[in-house]
């Protein structure tokens, strides 16, 4: 079975820890890049347009980063039920029963999310110990994370690409198509 076909049968299942870690890493990278770039643009604009100089450092920088991260996650979760990093890895947030995430539970999840860090990472242990792979904030918001990417299209893409390569090697000869 091809990787795409193998992954196809996991769609709708609880997302595993590696996928969620990579998604969080991608989000962190995006948050950092966008925050730094935005701050640089803002500083350049203030320097160019005003006699003052914008100097964001220390606690202000950190608070600004947290606020920006909150805006980033809040907007993406409430609007699309997934962050950009989760989109990259093909993950989606749903209610614990599998129904679509609504705005209210997205916001609850957003405000509960820092608790996982405030408990020194213990809030993430649910992803390991629980079969539903719900972290602390997932429990509070009654949400779960699942695999939800277009694996069917990925499978077709893989089959088409493989068939194209085979036709190129075989001189373009068509093979009969057998029925299932």
């Amino acid at each position: 079975m091809t990787p795409a076909r193998d992954a196809l049968r996991f769609q709708g299942h609880y997302a595993g820890p590696v996928s969620r870690l990579l998604a969080y890493a991608a989000d962190t990278f995006l948050i950092s890049v966008l925050y730094t770039a935005g701050l640089a643009l803002l500083r350049f604009a203030v320097d160019a347009a005003t006699p003052w100089t914008l100097n964001v450092e220390g606690a202000v920088f950190a608070v600004g980063a947290v606020v920006w991260a909150g805006l980033y996650f809040g907007a993406s979760w409430t609007g699309f039920a997934r962050s950009p990093g989760m989109s990259l890895l093909g993950l989606r947030i749903v209610r614990a029963d599998g129904s679509d995430l609504d705005r209210r539970h997205a916001l609850i999840r957003l405000f509960a999310f820092p608790l996982a860090f405030l408990t020194l990472g213990l809030g993430f242990l649910g992803i390991i110990l629980r079969r539903t792979r719900q972290a602390l904030y997932d429990n509070i918001a009654d949400t779960a994370v699942i695999y939800d990417w277009d694996a069917e299209a990925a499978k077709l893409r893989e089959l088409a690409t493989r068939g194209g390569h085979r036709r190129q090697v075989g001189g373009g000869a068509e093979r009969p198509v057998s029925s299932a």
């Binding site: 595993g16 629980r130 079969r131 077709l156 088409a160 299932a180």
Partner: protein, 295 residues
Amino acid sequence: MDDASHGSPGTDLVPLTGARVVPRELVRGVDLALGVGVRAGGVAVRLVGAGREVARVGVRAAAVLPGTGAARRALSAVTRPLAADGARVRRRTVAEAQRALEWAVPAIVELIDVDAIVQRIDADALVATIDVDAVLRRIDTDAVMAAIDVDALLQRTDVNALLRRVDLDAALTGVDLDEVIGRIDVDAIAARVDVNAIVQRLDVDAVVEQTELGTIVARSTSGFASEALDLARAQTVGVDALVTRLVDRLLRRRGEGPLGPPLLMREEDEEGPAAPPPAGAPSPPETAPPEEPAE
């Protein structure tokens, strides 16, 4: 009679051509003898008839007289030799008659023109008298058909030779195909076709992989980024499963928990079971690695 056998050309049925000609004197003698014989025979027949009645009365009268038994025995003793002589004469006469017939019948057959007889038979009138319907009604068709061994008949039939003798071109030339096609209700035929069943039997994966349709799909949807992302996602799912197995082994966890949220699993069950995992394929991820931040 006198002229019939002397110089006569004969009749249509019994021509005398080639037959023997009898002398006139012999014919007259035979006629005389026949005439005497016929008259004598007539008288004899009448006498015999009268004598039989008299004898019957006499026998009845004699039967009641005394001594009739002894007289019957005496009469029997007297008549037995006479009866034996009569039997010998009868046998000799029969033999002579047989020899005479053996000589006469071929001569008579030789004289008869069978063709003329056949020609005089009105076959149409003969057939007209036959009630063919009645004949057919009396035929038991079922019994006739039951008696026919169709298998043996077919085995003896050379179908190939039969087909070779059929002029298909000539047969098709006489067929108006446009009219035939015009009488076909295509909508009714199409309505009876279960297109969904046909589509379900179609191996879409094979179609995409082995035909130009796959190339179209690839050109319209794929790119390096898409393929790389597909591969990365698929590989990540595999690593998830691997990590889950390791954690389950460390925790000595047995059994299988829920694979996903109830509503989504119910939909999956209704759509049909997922494809069976290949040998050595990773099981669904159930747990996460320890101490890693996740969303």
